[in-house]
Symmetry: C2
Subunit: 422 residues, 2 copies
């Protein structure tokens, strides 16, 4: 029965039963963590051979290009090609860097702050960014760190609300937008072709409006029928808008989170602006790790094939969690959750006004969730409803215990709230 139809008496009985269950959970002394989109050790194992992909033997002969030495600021040719094929762009429009696409995004926003993106430095000016919500806390942190004002744009089933975006970009101080266009963090939504094309067609008042297209989950499908994301650069070309988007991706969730390879794709003009900063910034990135990846995965197809191994580990975990949510909460009508076709998160919405309480209850019983609110700019979820579940890291038994507790806390918080209101 839907919880809202429960009588006060029945709510009180249920509260008592749930409280007892909660207390016994607490006594079990769990230490579980479903907070971060961090691959599990079983996922790292399937890439372990990467560590043997290159060896001293690779450099026992003289090479024309010695990847151990200085040079090749934009990355090694083979690796630029691999990412170009993955992103379906020209290799001349790709730069391959180090192990962190977040770092590349941070560096790009930093460059905009100090040197601008074609219309003067952003520092010292009122700068606003559009942030599809719920979204990725690390994106919000970069904005907050630089004092960039964030504007919430609600996510729908086809991506962010483009009507709203079209309105906001009339304001010249709106300089950019962060997006995770495929298997969006945390909603799991992939932007529809129509959304991508409408975004590509935007005519912002700011000439230096820049979209950070964080394609982190580009090939992170849970089945053969993964979502299709329309190529943003194909769309941009239709509108002569190629300078508006910088696309980022990485192998952090393909090879190793801490020792992968990250890349960006951008228009010729943007590549040149980024390259000229990199010329001053660094002697170049680790080309041996780039080469290691190319030798192990060979090419973009190799990367795609490799993802079948991750899928086999992740898909059952996601199903186990959503099945449990259905089993434990399905009949009460107090929560909803995503069933994504890929990516790293289940988007979980509890009864408005109870998410922080659910977080507290979980934490006190030994289960760490992503900080409740973190999926919104400034950590403020206006409905206090959104919780991000990251099922990848814990082993299945731990994940199930954490999910059981989460369901219990979700129901308990809802029951108590309804009781308070009666």
């Amino acid at each position: 029965m839907l919880l809202k139809y429960y009588s006060k008496e029945n709510l009180m009985l249920l509260e008592k039963k749930l409280s007892t269950e909660y207390e016994s959970f607490k006594k079990m002394g769990f230490k579980l963590d479903i907070s971060r989109g961090k691959p599990g050790s079983d996922q790292l194992a399937v890439s372990n051979g990467l560590l043997d992909a290159i060896s001293s033997a690779d450099w026992e002969q003289q090479h024309l290009l010695d990847y151990r030495n200085y040079g090749l600021l934009m990355g090694i040719k083979e690796c630029r090609q691999m990412f170009a094929d993955l992103l379906d762009v020209n290799p001349d429009n790709v730069i391959v860097c180090g192990n962190s696409s977040l770092n590349m995004m941070f560096d790009y926003i930093t460059q905009c702050m100090l040197s601008g993106a074609g219309d003067g430095p952003w520092f010292g000016r009122k700068i606003k960014f559009l942030c599809p919500v719920p979204g990725y806390d690390r994106h919000f942190s970069i904005c907050q760190y630089y004092g960039i004002e964030m504007i919430n744009i609600p996510m729908g089933k086809e991506g962010p609300d483009v009507d709203m975006i079209e309105e906001y970009i009339q304001d010249e101080s709106v300089k950019g937008m962060f997006c995770v266009p495929k298997y969006s963090n945390p909603t799991g939504v992939t932007f529809s072709e129509d959304t991508v094309k409408r975004i590509a067609a935007l005519k912002p008042a700011a000439k230096d409006f820049r979209i950070i297209w964080d394609n982190a989950y580009i090939i992170h499908d849970f089945s053969d029928r993964g979502d299709n994301l329309y190529n943003i650069f194909d769309a941009l070309k239709l509108y002569g808008n190629e300078d508006m988007v910088i696309e980022f991706t990485s192998t952090s969730k393909i090879s190793f989170p801490g020792a992968g390879v990250a890349a960006l794709a951008a228009s010729t003009k943007n590549i040149e602006m980024i390259r000229s900063r990199m010329t001053i910034q660094t002697i170049g990135y680790d080309k041996l790790n780039q080469y290691r990846h190319v030798k192990f995965y060979r090419n973009a197809n190799g990367l795609k094939k490799h993802m079948i191994l991750h899928r086999a580990i992740l898909a059952p975990k996601f199903k186990a969690v959503t099945d449990k949510l259905e089993e434990k909460l399905g009949s009460y009508g107090i929560a909803s959750w995503s069933k994504p076709n890929g990516g790293y998160f289940i988007n979980f919405n509890v009864m408005p006004g109870t998410a922080k309480e659910v977080g507290r209850l979980c934490r006190e019983a030994g289960v760490v969730l992503t900080d409740v609110g973190a999926t919104f700019p400034y950590g403020i979820d206006p409905n206090d409803s959104n919780i991000r579940i990251a099922p990848s890291y814990p082993p299945v038994d731990e994940l199930m215990n954490a999910t059981r507790l989460l369901c219990l806390c979700t129901l308990l918080a809802a029951v108590r709230k309804l009781l308070n209101e009666k």
Copy 2:
């Protein structure tokens, strides 16, 4: 005989002879490069085993800390310890990052521009840096990129002119200084204990005055009796000035230039400021490469022992060049050069007013020198005299050909200049 005592007739005869020699050099079609401090392939070979130092076997068992995954923003413990021992500081005051100390310096200056170093952002204000000259062009490029005004501080035998530094720092807009304190690029000078202590004792008007202590050649000696550099942090403690210096180093010229590990050491306050930026900037640096280095070199002593292999390759090259300079130019009194005890460069001073011409003559005969002037801010050598020789990269026979040509061009340019003045 010193060239200045040559008669006009003898100068003309010499000019004719040298011109003929130069033309035949040109016909040989050399393509030689002594421009960059880049290790040769023989040097890379002695670290080639680094590529086998870790393998899939390292991660076949479950680890408490999995260096393949996210985490450990400040670097892995063993590697922080290795650099702490190398720099003779506490590991808590060390951060180990990626493959480029230049990138770390760039990021630090960027941080000062946007967030400041304790007294507000530097952006938009008149900022000046002191630059010991001749110095490292990449340091100057960072300043120039950010519009930081550079002030030349002449280098002497004990380091930069500290009297001059003491005077300039009375100006509150003087916010920092770049130094290569050991085997300085390009002079080869190591700052004396007295210089280090006087620098440590500085009382700048700017509260946020910061010295970039680029200890790039910390263990890069050519003999057992390498130069000793007094520990800057020991000196800073004497004056309660620990926040004034950020020290950088790397294994770029110990392991691989493109795939080494870089680190910084700083006061607790500075570490905290840098860490809080890194928290926003990145998911962490490549810990597997850090671990690879620790497994291969074991510890700071291992790094030091390894440098004996580099020394065996580099010392003879340096000696061959300085011997040739002596043989070809010693009697003319028109040029002088350093005989460093370590590092990567020979500092070569030609007759004032002829360095650019020497560079042009060399280039046209197929030998690339470091851009003449690049050893000074804005590329302007006020005496047009300084040339940086980087002997490490070419094989010995090529290096000797390049040196012969350099001597010839140096003499030819001097002869022509004297003739013009007669």
